[in-house]
């Protein structure tokens, strides 16, 4: 029960007014960006990365985690009330949620979503507390071959397994890998692809890449869409935001099933919560068909409960994978990894040993953030929906100004701003032509790890490629990868067949 004492120590650390303030601010910002379509926790954390220059690491990281969880709380609000999910992670819960709202049960749908997100996040956080140290211990034996396998696993999983089209995911991966190569090669000191520009010797800063791609790219994309209309049919919630005993009993199994789907997907670099939310939705629909009075299509409470719990469970275990293995499994986790690196902290097996106090405070922060988010979301969901009235032009102009500020603050250089513009236009092209953004971020963050561990492994073994599959851990990782590819192929095949019928 060492974990419990550590966790209590973490609580003692963060029960200070300033830490509580950052938990609250993070929850507030996260819910806000979750509510607003087009914005997301990844963009919000990216825009706030410059704060790492001035804030104490614990406070900044607690705030960023609050944003991550908050994004998954808020995303269903617009989906339920207006049928415009704030994020792709809320698409699954919007189907039945909007139908519930149309039947006059908007308040109950919102409550189901908020409680589901709370349960999923809580269960995942508990698991992280108990298993992250074990996982980290297991990972302390990782050598270059294992880290290389981990990086390859992440690359292929996020680009080929999860993306709708493997070739589009790989395209994004390639772009990210190119960006990661610019700058001085650490082992040899060789300047690479800097072409005499001193500003490029340090490489393209991760702050610049994330802010340009996620924020500026989205601003340009919104400009590209000006003139298209979006139909909005808002259902304003009325009545009690609480669930009746019967409703609670109906939703509870779905919350738990959804949590079960979400947990493993946080550890797999599957690009976030979309896949488990859809799996949870599909399961609830199948179960519903067997009931005496099927509710799907007319606003089923289970159809909201399952996906919402799955989404936040994913975020929880994703934080576990990030802390214990240094493996980012979603876009937001990738940017959080960058935030750790800004402080000279390297998430992974050694983080718990070297900066245990920060990790345990952060884990305690998870629980506080969940409670704060539940309070912010359960009674106030209709208030959050008012955010949707902020005119788009002001919102995105503000985001653009913040992006420019963040990039300038990162290096105080005009070259960075020019790179921002170029990557922003690239982000526009990727959005217009359906190239996913998350693989770029994973590639930029894990690219150097993959390269240096490959070279280490080869250097240590006299260029014997067998070293890459010499340990049980590497073999297991590659086998998992093959299984994932097979599953993705089967899923696509099944979907195609279902679409043909």
């Amino acid at each position: 029960m060492e974990q419990l004492t550590n966790l209590l120590g973490g609580f003692a650390d963060i029960l200070s007014p300033s830490a509580l303030l950052f938990v609250f601010v993070g929850a507030l910002l996260g819910t806000a960006v979750g509510v607003l379509p087009g914005l997301g926790s990844a963009m919000a954390v990216a825009l706030l990365l410059p704060l790492t220059f001035v804030l104490d690491p614990t406070n900044a990281l607690i705030m960023f985690t609050g944003i991550y969880f908050g994004g998954l709380f808020g995303d269903s609000i617009a989906g339920i009330l207006m049928n415009t999910p704030g994020n792709s992670t809320a698409i699954a819960s919007s189907f039945e949620g909007y139908r519930m709202a149309q039947r006059g049960k908007a308040a109950q749908a919102l409550a189901t979503a908020a409680i589901g997100a709370f349960i999923g996040g809580m269960v995942a956080s508990l698991l992280v507390v108990f298993f992250a140290p074990t996982l980290a211990e297991l990972a302390t034996g990782f050598g270059p071959a294992e880290f290389f396998a981990l990086a390859v696993f992440a690359f292929i999983a996020i680009s080929a397994v999860v993306a709708d089209s493997a070739i589009r995911g790989l395209a994004a991966l390639a772009i990210g890998l190119v960006l990661a190569l610019i700058g001085i090669d650490q082992p040899s000191g060789t300047p690479r692809f800097s072409f005499g520009f001193p500003a490029l010797l340090d490489g393209v800063s991760i702050v610049v890449i994330t802010v340009s791609l996620l924020a500026l790219g989205e601003v340009f994309h919104q400009a590209a869409k000006v003139g298209r209309s979006t139909e909005q049919d808002t259902v304003l919630p009325t009545g009690r935001p609480w669930l009746s005993r019967a409703e609670f009993r109906a939703a509870l199994p779905a919350w738990l099933r959804g949590t079960g789907y979400g947990l493993p997907f946080g550890v797999i670099p599957a690009g976030g919560a979309e896949v488990p939310t859809f799996l949870a939705y599909g399961t609830e629909r199948r179960l519903d068909r067997r009931r005496t009075t099927p509710m799907f299509g007319r606003g089923s409470i289970q159809g909201v409960a399952g996906p919402e719990a799955a989404g936040n469970a994913t975020a929880g275990t994703a934080m576990g994978a990030l802390l214990a293995l240094g493996l980012p499994t979603s876009a937001t986790a990738a940017i959080l990894l960058a935030a750790f690196q800004q402080y000279g902290l390297q998430p992974g097996p050694l983080l718990l040993e070297r900066s245990g106090d920060i990790v345990w405070a952060l884990l305690a922060g998870f629980f506080l953030a969940m409670v704060v988010l539940l309070i912010l979301n359960l009674p106030f969901a209709p208030l959050w929906a008012q955010l949707l009235r902020v005119p788009k032009s002001y919102l995105y102009a503000g985001i653009g100004v913040f992006a420019a500020f963040g990039v300038y603050a990162a290096g105080a250089s005009t070259v960075d701003l020019v790179i921002m513009l170029v990557i922003g236009v690239l982000g526009l092209a990727m959005r217009l032509y359906d190239i996913p953004v998350a693989p770029v971020l994973i590639a930029v963050i894990l690219g150097p790890l993959a390269e240096y561990s490959l070279r280490d492994a080869m250097g240590n073994s006299g260029n014997d490629p067998a070293v890459l599959v010499s340990s049980p851990i590497t073999v297991v990782l590659y086998l998992l990868l093959v299984a994932g590819l097979a599953w993705a192929a089967w899923r696509r095949f099944a979907e195609k067949r279902a679409a043909d019928v």
Partner: protein, 221 residues
């Protein structure tokens, strides 16, 4: 018959073109690289070679994926470049794959002028978006290029003037340009909001948190 979605149209070939350009960038940079010390078999040039090959292979694959015939979209007139075809209720186009519904959930009226609605912001009174009725055209790649150029130009201009005008004025200009690109032409409130945001950032981040921002000729505050 449906028109091809944007990511399968000819315009999408931009992406393979970018990949080829990146591949050439890597090839050129690798061939001219001055390797420090003994590179060895797995030296600083190994990964660039691998990534360059990846770029070319993916570019080829993506080109094939974009150009290959797709009976579900092309119908009889194979290869026709999608124009603004009235598709009525079929505007739910690409929603067959639920997971792909991230991009094009909205429906788009053909945007005939290519310019945003003049004078009125798209969200004047909150939900007052332009009612375009039921006549909806399925034109997924209808890109408002005037708006995009305004936004990109605004950022470019910001970069140029930032050292001279300083943060507050340059950022106010950037805000105004972006808001205008997004269709808001009510200059007075926009400029005022931009000025407020730029000043707030200056005060909070530069004044309180000590991040340095260019002061420009106004200097001092």
């Amino acid at each position: 018959m449906r028109t091809r979605p944007a990511h399968l149209s000819r315009g999408a070939l931009v992406v393979p073109a970018i990949l080829v350009a990146l591949g050439i960038f890597l090839l050129y940079g690798t061939l001219t690289m001055e390797v420090v010390g003994d590179g060895g078999l797995f030296g600083p040039t190994t990964m660039p070679w691998i990534v360059a090959v990846l770029c070319f292979v993916v570019a080829a694959g993506l080109t094939f994926d974009i150009l290959r015939p797709r009976p579900e979209y092309d119908g009889v007139a194979a290869g026709a470049v999608p124009a603004a075809v009235p598709a009525g209720g079929a505007a739910a186009g690409g929603a067959d794959d639920a997971a792909a519904a991230t991009g094009h959930t909205g429906v788009d009226p053909g945007s005939p002028d290519g310019v945003g609605p003049d004078g009125v912001g798209p969200d004047g009174a909150g939900s007052g978006s332009e009612a375009s009725g039921d006549a909806v055209a399925d034109a997924p790649d209808a890109v408002n290029s005037a708006a995009v150029l305004t936004a990109v130009g605004g950022v470019a201009a910001f970069i140029v003037v930032l050292p001279w005008l300083g943060w507050i004025l340059a950022a106010t200009g950037l805000f105004t340009a972006l808001a205008a690109a997004l269709g808001n032409r009510r200059w007075f409130p926009v400029v005022l909001a931009g000025l407020a945001l730029a000043s707030a950032i200056q005060v909070v981040f530069s004044g309180l948190l000590g991040i340095s921002l260019p002061a420009g000729f106004v200097g001092g505050f």
